[in-house]
Structure formats: structure tokens, C-alpha cells
Symmetry: C2
Amino acid sequence: MHRYRFFFILQLVCSLALGARVELPWSPLPEKPPTPKDNPSTREKISLGKQLFFDPRISLDGTISCNSCHNVMGNGTDNKPTSAGVDAKHGGRSAPTVWNSAFHSVQFWDGRAASLEDQAKGPMTNPVEMAMKDHAMVMDRISRIPGYVAQFKKVFNGENSTTIENTAKAIAAYERTLITRNSPFDRYMRGNKKAISAQAEKGMKTVIELGCITCHRGQNFNGTDLKMGEGFYQKFPLLPDEVYTPKYRFMDDKGRAETTKKEEDEHFWRVPTWRNVALTAPYFHNGSVATLEEAVRIMAKVQLGKEVTEEQVSDIVSFLNTLVGEFPEQTLPRLPETPGKTFFPLNAGNI
Amino acid sequence: MHRYRFFFILQLVCSLALGARVELPWSPLPEKPPTPKDNPSTREKISLGKQLFFDPRISLDGTISCNSCHNVMGNGTDNKPTSAGVDAKHGGRSAPTVWNSAFHSVQFWDGRAASLEDQAKGPMTNPVEMAMKDHAMVMDRISRIPGYVAQFKKVFNGENSTTIENTAKAIAAYERTLITRNSPFDRYMRGNKKAISAQAEKGMKTVIELGCITCHRGQNFNGTDLKMGEGFYQKFPLLPDEVYTPKYRFMDDKGRAETTKKEEDEHFWRVPTWRNVALTAPYFHNGSVATLEEAVRIMAKVQLGKEVTEEQVSDIVSFLNTLVGEFPEQTLPRLPETPGKTFFPLNAGNI
């Protein structure tokens, strides 16, 4: 596999040096995102999922919605190192963007969820995120909102359809609509050579030559396009150094091993996308790095063992900027009401 | 004034009893909300204001936007007794709905702001809300977002236009679009007598007969329609009782006197609107009352000195339900980005 990649990169670099027409290791996003057979998207399901995504009532004290940390009005994150959950608690990892998350074959930084459906259930009961006691509590809340119950019945076709599985399915269906197509580089890949600047094109060649594309390839710039549930992982830092690694505390979190408890998974992470990466500072799993320039320097050093020049950094950032796509216009959801009575019990502290 | 009101109500009640065609003490919302001369609404200003309204970056730790407590995806409140601000701090008063707030002639529960423009500046620097140190800090944040600076320049026509006054103007311009027209009762008032049920019509007559309309009159059911900056206030509880008043701690907060420091303002409050009141539980300034039924019983008792029957309560609630208007569809704003670098300083705690 590694040998294959080496030759692939060598071939690309030679072709580029010769000015030949080469096949790039990336591609524009396909027409439709991967979708599980048991969760086909429908207009009504997407609408329900969008309401749930924006509804803070499914957090313990009614303050946190999915959108609080994955703000789709912005870049799909909260632009913070780590996010504030209920009672302003913070976890150890930075919120990844929800935009184009449909094109990740596994979810979370450590890939511990096989699908968007699996992922959606996690934060609801995470004590430092939405902090619900359990999924039964989530469903109790949703079941007390008549407008939701009616929609579940219609969308999932049945009486006992107001379930956590269907809640996750609806949210995932909405998330599959969050796709930023038609970035300047997508237009470039489709033949419009003027869609990116000369500097960005130089940066593109640089990331190929440096070998970044060993991992950052494919339609989502996050690895070989695997089927849903199969993760594309890489160790980070692969070559821990004496400057960046301690400075940014990259080794404090054991990554995938924290979940699998396997030694061979220590410091392995799902390869993140480059799409919209220019917008999602601060960087890395702990959100410890403030700028994209520094992130580029770090990646070259601790993943590829290379020192990059400031010119290279600038070229690469120029290229990464071309991966910001178009954010589709959406309507604001309307959250169903509970007329005439309080939704949250009074005199129960902040719950 | 009081004598006038008494005769007005008497006349209405007699007319109703005789089945005569009477002029109701309310009216549908006018075509345009009151707008200050120095802040005309424009499409671009409203768009800028909407972005600012939804942007949590103007709170200390980047977690709270105007929309956090005045959720326009719902009924314009957070449906909580009191709202959670930065670091999950709580104030003593319940968030009033932002929907139709343009039709209040003064803002806040105690009317201490003369306009939506004045109001918008308050929560930003309130330590238990958005908790910014001062307005200079707010403007520093906004000024670091190039997409905002460009819009301010365009909307407010000048170089030094990124100011707190203009920020408030833009937010107020957006808030003036948050109007729920065409409620069943508005349609009834415009002549469609089938727009509300017989029970609701009975409830309508009941609120007239009981005298609720001494205060809850006008286009916004919140008093005589005064010009902007002139408040329509009433004492609450006007006739403190021995049951509700201590149970719901209505006297703990001195209302308008907390701001004016005048004895004659003790326990005076701006008269709240009835529009969408069915959606904005829990009720009263401290959000202490869970249901609309109980709110009706309390108002009859502590404002009018009357015990209402459960039938009357039910009729009145039926009437109040007809005051839920249509929530206009809106697009989701897109918040301008700060590419390539973190917006919040790292290693600065939660700031």
C-alpha cells in the first residue's frame, strides 16, 4: 500500500514537472452523498431533522442544540478550541464541521461512529455536551411536543415511530443536505483552469510533491473513498518532534485508542477533510493551533518530516483557500410549540 | 382617565349584551411597524442585523447570540423561567418574545429602553447575558470580521460606520421584520366571523366584561398605542393577594423602580402583549407560572380582584389561542467568516 502510494506520487510529480496533463488525486463531490439503504432522504424527513438539529430542548437545560457547536450559519463549527456544553462544560476535542460530513465514511475525530445516524446520538447524552441523562429522556422531551410526534408518525410511517433511532435518522438526513459544492478548485477540476490563481496552482503542486496526498485525497480530501463504516485513519503526530508536539500538547489525547483501548490505535485519528479548512480555525483535534499557516508547517514537520519554506506555506494556504465551497441558502426552521404550558418543569434548578 | 375607561367598558359590555355591532378595543397590526426617522429599514440593513442577531461571537465566550434567548425559530423566547447567559448565569427576569416587539413603545419588562435600538445594546454587556466587558469590546469583535466591516460601510455609508449605534440600528431593523400577522383573531377583526370558534368569541366577551381591556387593548394588546419612548405601565400585582402573590414571589422584584429608583414606580411593569401569549410560557416577569390557565386566574385575582370560574378561564384561553399569528418564513443568515485564523484568542480560558 505504502509502496503503491510512493509510486503514485512519484508519477504525479514527474508528470507535473513535465507539464503533462495528469489525473489529480481529488475529484469534485458527487451528485449525491452516500446514504444508508435504511434511511432514504425525503423532503419531510429532512425538514424534521433540521428542526431537531436546531432545537435546544433536547439538551438538559434547554440551551444547547446540535447547531450550538456545529453552526451551519457559519462554517459548521463554533470556531472555538473546544465547545461549551450545558453549564459551560468543555470536552477535550474541537467540534469538527458538519458541512460535508456526509462524505466522511466514519464520524467523530476518532471515527468511533460508523454513520451520521450513529454520531447524532452521541452528543445528546454526553455530560459535557447536551448532557441528557439518557436517550429515554431525549425521547420524553420530543414526545411532549405534539408537532414532532405528528411529523415522526408521517415520516416514519407508524404509531411507535418517535424513537431515538428515527430521531438520529432524521438529523442525519438533514446533515446529508449540508454540502458545499462548486468551490473554485472544484471548478478547476471540472476544466475551468482560471478558477484558481497561479499561486494556488503552485500550492496544489506543492501538496502533491510533499506527499500530503497520501492521506488528503479523494472527493473529500480525507483519504481513499471507503464505504460507510470503514475509516481512513492516520497516526498523528506520525513523527513527533521536539517543538510542535509538546507545545501544542498533541500527545495528551490518545485518539482512537481512547475508544478501542488498543495499543496499536494510539494517536490514530480519522483523516480530516480539507474542504472549507480555511474557515475552521482553530486547528487539530484539540483546537490548539490558531492559524492555517501554522497547521501547514506542523503537518509537514510531524507527518512528513519536512521543513517547509514560508513561500511553500503561503502557496499551500492559497490552494486550501480554493477549497471553500458555496454554502447553499436554507430556510430557518420553525420549531414546533407546546401552547399554553411551560415546556421545562419550573423549580427544578436549571433543568 | 380611569373614569373614561370605565364608561368605555360599560358601553362595550352593554352593546355586546344587546348583540349590537361594536367597535372592538383592538385592531389588526398596521402595515408597517413604528420606525425611528433616523433608522429607516433597508434590505441590506435588515440582512446585516439578522446576521448580528444570530452571531454568538458578540458574547464573551462566543456561545450566546440574541437568538439564544429570543429564539425566532420558535416563539421568540427560550421557554425558560430565566435564561442562561455566558457561563450558565441566570438573571431574575424571563426573556420577553422578540416577535412583534416593534409594537411595544418601550422595551424590557420595565420599559427602561425607549426603542429597539436602545434595547439591543443592553444584553451585550449584561454580565449574566452576553457578558461583554463593554461596547468597545463588542465593536472590536465585529471589526475583526471583514464581512461585517464591508457591510457596515455599505449600509451606513461611511468609513467610520462600524459603531455600536449602527450595530444596534441594524439589529433593530431586523427585529422590525419579526411580525406575526394574520392571526385567527386578526382575520375575525377584518370581518371573517368564522375565523374563531364560538368558545373563543365567548372568551373575547369575557375579557371585555372582566375589564382586562383596561390595559390589554390596542393593536398589540398591550395598552393605548403610544409613541415610541412613551411607556404604558401598570402596577402588578395591583391587589396583592395572600395566595398567588407569595406563592409566585411576585413582590420580590420591584419592577420599574429597580431602574428609576422612584417609590411611585415600585412594582410597575410595561403591559405585556397578548399576541402569541399562548406560546410563551412560563409566564410573568419572573417566569414563575407554568400555564396560561393559571396566568389567567392570577390576573383576574391580583389585577381585577375577581375570582374567575374554570369555564371563564377556559373561554379566555380559547380566545388567547386565536392571537397566535403566522410566523413568516425566513432564510438562515450566513455569518461572515475570518479565514485562516482563529477568531477567539487561544489559551485565554473560555474567552
